[in-house]
Symmetry: C2
Subunit: 260 residues, 2 copies
């Protein structure tokens, strides 16, 4: 797809500082960047470079075994909303969190309660909350919200947005109906690829074109559902992290234009 | 649950021959065994020991890029049905296979066509076909059928059975309604646990009690849906494979009685 919609999610160049990632975007004519909270330093570098922020990653992680723990998580999300405002991010991506015990149903309730508790502050701040369903292989340690169907239901109930990431949802037999159902609520779209065999649960995502995901078909469905915003390339992959960032960004641009 | 329903799926003691696994079952008063086709040797050992066969693993793997390839896969499944008859297995477990390319929808059609092509032979042979939905992390290399909802729809369409494995389905927000919907079609039930963090995509399954799955709750739901057959413990785990089989079976018995 057209380059102007490409956004570099900062995790793809994990070894670079925010300033370094912004400079890399400038060298490669990339106009948008998705920023991670653990790399929120030197934010003036983004402003000075005239680069748009597509999202802030990540809020969420709501469940906890005690009420005090759940309140601490809510407080952290309120801070994340303020950080999104400060850096000019229109969307806060929510990775909803795992269950603190074996009761996944109760944890899903804690997620709903947590989002409900931060929603008004997000709205007043002009920040869109985006529930990102994660691949079910992360259900035990990162997110009890694992399907677009569940994210759509929760987003409709709470009147917030969702974020669609090809790596997390490509396998879903209900993928295209659920993308259509998300119409009007899509707050972000992330791309990467699924490698075969999968090199690693966390750090095994692939560059677009190196795996089996029908990227263009999914992108077209997301566009048909009304999403016209930046498209983040978000790749957790140790081999890519260990590569020269300029080589990675050159490949990323080419693949984005040819395959997404 | 009660020991008499425990079945040792042979993969849990991967290092043992079939004869060795049968002898281990006898030492531990385990009355049922689930057998893998790649270990189909000395099958008289099973008969002589008076041990029941709960299932044969596995048929399936239907998709291929050519018609000849798909026919070869169908032929292999017809042989598997005959092998199930020969060993006295009431159920042939179907691991449906991955897509030969990026078109997962077309591959799902090949799976439906493949099952339709072997169904009559299975029925005439008295062998129940059991579609086993695999965890979505196996969608690219083992099975395009990844949810109970999809397995239930396919099984209803083709009038065959399904196999439920806790490791593959525990994360599903639609788990309990789909187990209820499977009533009358459940041809097998497998248990193991989901470890946190997951040690390995293929060889990271855990012994019951070592992970986060609500085993008893799922077992009760499967029973409420009318399944009263053997319950296979199927654990792909290198550390367990490298342990003394008698130690593994002792633990397996205890955990089965206490937690399943």
């Amino acid at each position: 797809m057209e380059l102007k919609r490409l956004s570099l999610n900062q995790i793809t160049t994990e070894r670079l500082s925010l300033r370094g990632a912004v400079a890399a975007c400038q060298r490669h004519q990339i106009r948008n960047i998705g920023i991670w909270r653990h790399k929120l330093e030197e934010t003036e570098a983004v402003r000075d470079a005239g680069i748009s922020v597509s999202s802030l990653c990540r809020g969420g992680m709501f469940p906890a075994s005690t009420a005090a723990g759940r309140q601490a998580n809510i407080d952290d999300n309120l801070r994340a909303i303020d950080q999104a405002v400060a850096i000019g991010a229109p969307t806060l991506v929510l990775v909803c969190g795992p269950a603190p015990d074996r009761d996944i149903k109760a944890a899903r309730g804690m997620v709903a309660d947590g989002i409900a508790a931060i929603r008004d502050h997000a709205r007043a701040s002009g920040v869109m909350l985006g529930i990102e369903p994660l691949h079910p292989m992360f259900a035990a340690d990162r997110s009890v919200i694992t399907t677009l169907a569940e994210a759509n239901a929760l987003a409709a109930q709470l009147d917030v947005g969702i974020v669609i990431d090809t790596f997390h949802v490509w396998w879903d037999p209900d993928l295209y109906p659920q993308i259509a159902r998300a119409s009007g609520r899509i707050a972000g779209f992330h791309v990467s690829d699924w490698l075969v065999p999968l090199p690693d649960v966390l750090l095994g995502r692939g560059m677009m074109g190196d795996g089996v995901i029908e990227l263009r078909r999914i992108r077209e469905a997301v566009e048909s559902a009304g999403y016209a915003g930046p498209v983040e390339v978000e790749i957790f992959n140790r081999a890519i992290w260990d590569s020269d960032p300029d080589t990675v960004l050159t490949t990323m641009r080419e693949r984005f234009e040819a395959l997404v």
